[in-house]
Amino acid sequence: MSDVLVKIRNLSASFSSVTVLKNINLEIPSRKVVAFIGPSGCGKSTFLRCLNRMHEEVPGADIQGQIFLEGQNIYEKHIDPVLVRRKVGMVFQKPNPFPGLSIFDNVAVGLKLMGVKKRVLYERVEDSLKQAALWGEVKNILKRQGTSLSGGQQQRLCIARALAINPSVVLMDEPTSALDPISTARIENLIRRLKEKVTVIIVTHNMQQASRISDKTAFLLSGELVEYEKTSKIFTNPSEVRTESYITGRFG
């Protein structure tokens, strides 16, 4: 069962006419974990932000090419970016729960603003928190501030928040780089289970992490896609010399 969920065609992206992604072509299978690795500044975050149309929120940012999500080009004129973002969730590098909102409301706010009925709200919040492996720790303190949780818990809260609106893809931009090893391990376990329901596209600078959790790995270098293969192949027998030298730590 490896139908294509996201198809990227000739994707280029720039900031104020400085090109940072060059003609990227790749396909992302459904219900898998796909990792993007590469030295910092190579365009990993920019790539992710093209997938949920957040790139265009930066003044001066431009994008070319097509991205098909479930067969629909999300960059077609009549497509509302707001609706794209409801299909493509995002988790950021730094845990960023909404300040001033309770744990419950952090997860519920997206649903509330989408007009989900109060009756089902609690159920959906509980469900999302369970999927994010946070329910047990917060079920008695749902009224507390989201920002009062620990860093690792905050990040899982952000994952729950993203899952709540039922996306088909979740983008994660170095989600564990601000966390301690135990919180990191928890989130890795969580990601492995998430792919039963959603596709996870994760950017990581930690190659062990990529090899532990992903099915496929893409290597980006200065805005170009160098190699995109099964994770086991990338880490044991890469076809490109540049991939090999990056993985073995010879640069980056």
Binding site: N52, G89, G100, A162
Partner: protein, 305 residues
Amino acid sequence: MSSEKELSLDNGAVIYSYSLRDRWRKWCNYFMLGCLFLLSLIAAIPFLFIVYYVLAKGISSVNWDFFTQLPKPPGEEGGGMSNALIGSLVVVGMASLVGIPWGMGMGVYLSEYRATRTAKALRFVVDLLISAPSIVIGIFIYGFIVVRYGFSSYAGSAALLLIMLPVVAKGTEEILKMVPNHIREAGLALGIPRWKVIVRIIIPSVLSMCVTVIMLAIARIAGETAPLLFTALGNQYHIRDLSEPIATLPVQIYEFSKSGFEQMEKQAWAGAMVLVLFVFFINFFTRMFLFFYKKDKIKPFQKGK
């Protein structure tokens, strides 16, 4: 050197040294701190004195009648300032009703669309208005409204509105600018339209600070006298119609204090005391609100662990 205490490791590295210069620096620090403390104290003395003076002079005339009765004619004992109290509530209330949402809207625009040309122009106007002396604003309203339609509570409210708008707008803008961008991005990435992100997520996260700005703006216009002198004018009686001249506390205090009648001067002191207490309580309740609200609700933008 005998004046230096040193703590060195086996390998000779100095990790702690306490030289004359360090000691000198420390005393300098204490001295400056002391100066600052003293200056703050000196600055507080006139303020305390004013509060004491107003209370001492006003307390004898602040009674039930003061809040419920109209002023008595010159020379007669007793009476109150109920007309001015109600008038101030009306004028300040009308200005706030319009000024708070409008000012906050402007603040949101200035912060969230800060790069647009309209925002830059608007910011210029707001800065200009904020620094305009309030009497100039009064003259402006006089020329534009009073000359055509006469003195009225509308004209008074309009003057206060012009004073309040830029204060609320600037305050809201500065508060919203403190919200880090990644919070907005988190909202947008959830598929929430930008305006809803602002209204439902960003503003609630800084609500307590917005309340402070609003309260301080209300306190500010409640005490304005000059712009009301030639817009609201004054009225010895209760208003029956908003298009009539209206009594306000600051103007009535001003009028009574220069009347030359001892009894009216007493009333003026009572009015001053009520005004001071009103502003004081606004500040006090804002602080109380923030204290209890913050305790549980707001932890603004602490650094993630």
